[in-house]
Amino acid sequence: YKLVNLKVFPWFGLDIGGTLVKLVYFEPKDITAEEEEEEVENLKSIRKYLTSNVAYGSTGIRDVHLELKDLTLCGRKGNLHFIRFPTHDMPAFIQMGSEKHFSSLHTTLCATGGGAYKFEQDFRTMGDLQLCKLDELDCLIKGVLYIDSVGFNGRSECYYFENPTDAERCQKLPFNLENPYPLLLVNIGSGVSILAVYSKENYKRVTGTSLGGGTFFGLCCLLTGCSTFEEALEMASHGDSTKVDKLVRDIYGGDYERFGLPGWAVASSFGNMMSKEKRESVSKEDLARATLVTITNNIGSIARMCALNENINRVVFVGNFLRINTISMRLLAYALDYWSKGQLKALFLEHEGYFGAVGALLELLGSA
């Protein structure tokens, strides 16, 4: 306990991914007057800067709705803040750390994700900071288990979609992940990693795919000229993928009974785009929607096969691809339920892409 208490503020956890940097910051709310007295100026200034803003620079964003309040961490009470910014702004972030004399605070900066390696040198030379690099998957799993155990401000962190195959009756419901094992954890960032988790310490990376969030966004940029993930999703929400994709019924006129394939199933993603006339008749929104559906279904399909091979029936989807992306979540829930004949359940977590960063913070505190 005493040792833990020695951890000096500020408490950060950093996850530097291919596209996004995720930062969690623990804001202590139980600072005594004595402590406040002793607190160095730049520490105070960092706390103020982070907690009084919801946006940082032109690209940093604090997900206020995700903030965890009155959390007790290592004997301290406080709020956990969730902040993200694009990885390409990493140099500016390090520059800011340098300007705010972060290194003088004598804290350790725990970081995970590929960028922990990529930017390690920059942290050292530009920011005079020694990064503590942490394993990405370790952090991810620790973060998931921790956040699920503390809950989401009294609500359930984990949820699922009931009646996913019925558009009318489909609804989001809390799920109790008290006995989580075994579970398949599908992390959809720029790419996708799939882990089979058997216990806190026992997990393995089953496989991964390069068709992930980066593919959706990258293809949308090329196909529609959009420039943000939000814009791409917004377009997708107004499009119709069946104009772009070739469905089973487009080929067979209805269901393909020989193989038990329903007419609505996609037979060929972008299959209609082989025809010049159809290429000319689709909208950007249709293309964005088709891209989203293609990538999502594919992830669902690979996840389902992994679940079958690993003999696991609960599949938890996380990662920032799912942020504000109800279309994909419902599609995943639907696809998993339909193609497994109800045997597999798709689960989701409210803090989508932040678990790696949370895990990094926990590592810092040594409490995990």
Binding site: G115, Y117, M273
Partner: protein, 761 residues
Amino acid sequence: MPMRPSKEWVAIKMAERGGRGSGGHGSLDKSITLPPDEIFRNLENAKRFAIDIGGSLTKLAYYSTVQHKVARVRSFDHSGKDIEHEPLYEISVQEEITARLHFIKFENTYIETCLDFIKDHLVNTETKVIKATGGGAYKFKDLIEKKLGLKVDKEDVMTCLIKGCNFVLKNIPHEVFAYQKDSDTEFRFQTNHPNIFPYLLVNIGSGVSIVKVETEDKFEWIGGSSIGGGTFWGLGALLTKTKKFDELLQLASKGQHTNVDMLVKDVYGGAYQTLGLSGNLIASSFGKSTTADKEFSKEDMAKSLLHMISNDIGQLACLYAKLHNLDKIYFGGFFIRGHPVTMRTITYSINFFSKGEVQALFLRHEGYLGAIGAFLKGAEQDNPNQYSWGENYAGSSGLMSTSPDVFPMQRTRSGTFDMFEMDRLERPLVNLPLLKDPSTYIPDTVDLTDDAMARKYWLTCFEEALDGVAKRAAASQPDSIDASERAEKFRQKYWNKLQTLRQQPFAYGTLTVRSLLDTREHCLNEFNFPDPYSKVKQKENGIALKCFQSVIESLDSLGWEERQFALVKGLLAGNVFDWGAKAVSDVLESEPQFGFEEAKSKLQERPWLEDSYSQWLERLKEGPPHKCALIFADNSGIDIILGVFPFVRELLSRGTEVILACNSGPALNDVTYSESLIVTERIAAMDPVIHRLDKGLAVLVRERETDLVIIEGMGRAIHTNYYAALKCESLKLAVIKNSWLADRLGGKIFSVIFKYEVPCK
């Protein structure tokens, strides 16, 4: 002789009529007639049509009977005649009818013209129905019914595909190949496994179907993916504004995906090595194009798309293979068809995701599977599945004859025809029951697809011998007025085949000396030269028979040990008489007096190049007589009569039964089964030790408990079975009548191979 790019039909000009965008079908320029003996062959007798119409190619199948000539020998009744001056037996050429399956592939543009052509040439009208499959079958239904007057009967695409797949897997040697990049020959053919089931068929059309095939009739669609060929084509067209599938592939083969994809090293920086990850792995496909400001090249985007799709398909295929515990995955569909680019990426993906445990396999006749299956569906009453069928090399175009990668010119000209023909085999081929391990038996010593030096040598060898064979063929039919014209056609055809094989050694599967010989026989038969050496053999058999008794007498005068050596030497000397070897045929042409004694003097002195004669002698001396010896004989004339028969006689007198095995059909001056019967009969008349048995070889071998196999001649003992391991004792002997091969084996011309092997206990 000029080098020719490919088959005869390249020269056939096709001209497109009708506007391009108007959807009008192209038609043949009628001023240039399509020669029926080259494309839609044997249409007069054609029946049981089937058609498979895909997105861009049509595959037509039919069954026909082919009348061709066969050489027959018949013994004369010699009673009371002066046999000194009569030939030993009579040779006649007779007509025989055999069944042939024809498959032709052409672009959909030509469908109307082809249907017209078929209608014009179709004599037989008993056919009422045409089986149809493929996505385009519906679209062209009315056209087919109108043009051919046949009722179109639709068959399920996947059922046809599987049926066709089973058929080629069972009947075509070297049907299956693995793709190897960066190797001299990119195609690694697999030896047919006796049991083809179960397997996974991944068909990559516009989408992907994954089918598990368990038996001839049992298959199950176990999954699929919507990300397939249509995704590559559709998305590729959107991204690059390139309309054609082939052009997209061309773009992809020139691109750099690393400009578009986010790699592991892009995420991890330079430090990925510490993680045990390869920095070049793709972390996120199109992960670098997440910006509106940058331009990306068409080539790079196409390449990235190709990788994305191939990897995805490979990954899913591996997941399905794992779940269903299967290790054979065959890939097909238009995405794969003849495209080295996609075969390479799929192979890479399967290797990566299965960690080398599963091999991506491809099929030489993949494009024909649907047509074959539809045909089989329609021919169920003929039960083609109960027969064995063999690929006719003379009538088949070979792998990738229309591939843009091999013949870029040809493809752009458009309108090429690819053909595949199969002949019904007289009897099913089975493995010799004495083989130690039939599943690993490879009946070819040197793989010429792999061995470029050997390939060059042998192709040249066959080229140089060609004029002689053609001359011999013409001479074998002195009474036929068109013999020399046909001989020239044969020469031209085989020459073209050899040129094709120089460019595409993989065209008909693994290239071997055996397949070169088979191709020559197929070409000879094509032009009605069933047995060009029949006359030569007849003469030589007659001459040799006259010497038989004196050879026997001189052998009998020797002591036992001396005799054993003389017998072996006789066997080897006899084997010098081979018209297939240029060094020998030159001698035989120029020195008609060249005889048995001259041949003996040519032989290498002991120790021979491969010499286990002492062990053999020891075995004869010490061991009990063999129960039954199986001898594969080589040439007719001196070889069989003065070499093999005295040896046979010695074995018989030891109490060993002998089965003499000869070719069922003619090949150069090899002794055929029917000739051997006459020869045996004549020798039996002279020599009471010899009498005859006649039964199916495999049955006989088992019944008689064969414990010694003797394989004679370069073809059987060296080119094919040199490394074949048998369950019983074996003797492989041959004289190397070819200086290149002798050189390679470390000897000189007329070196002797005498390889006696005892299986290890």
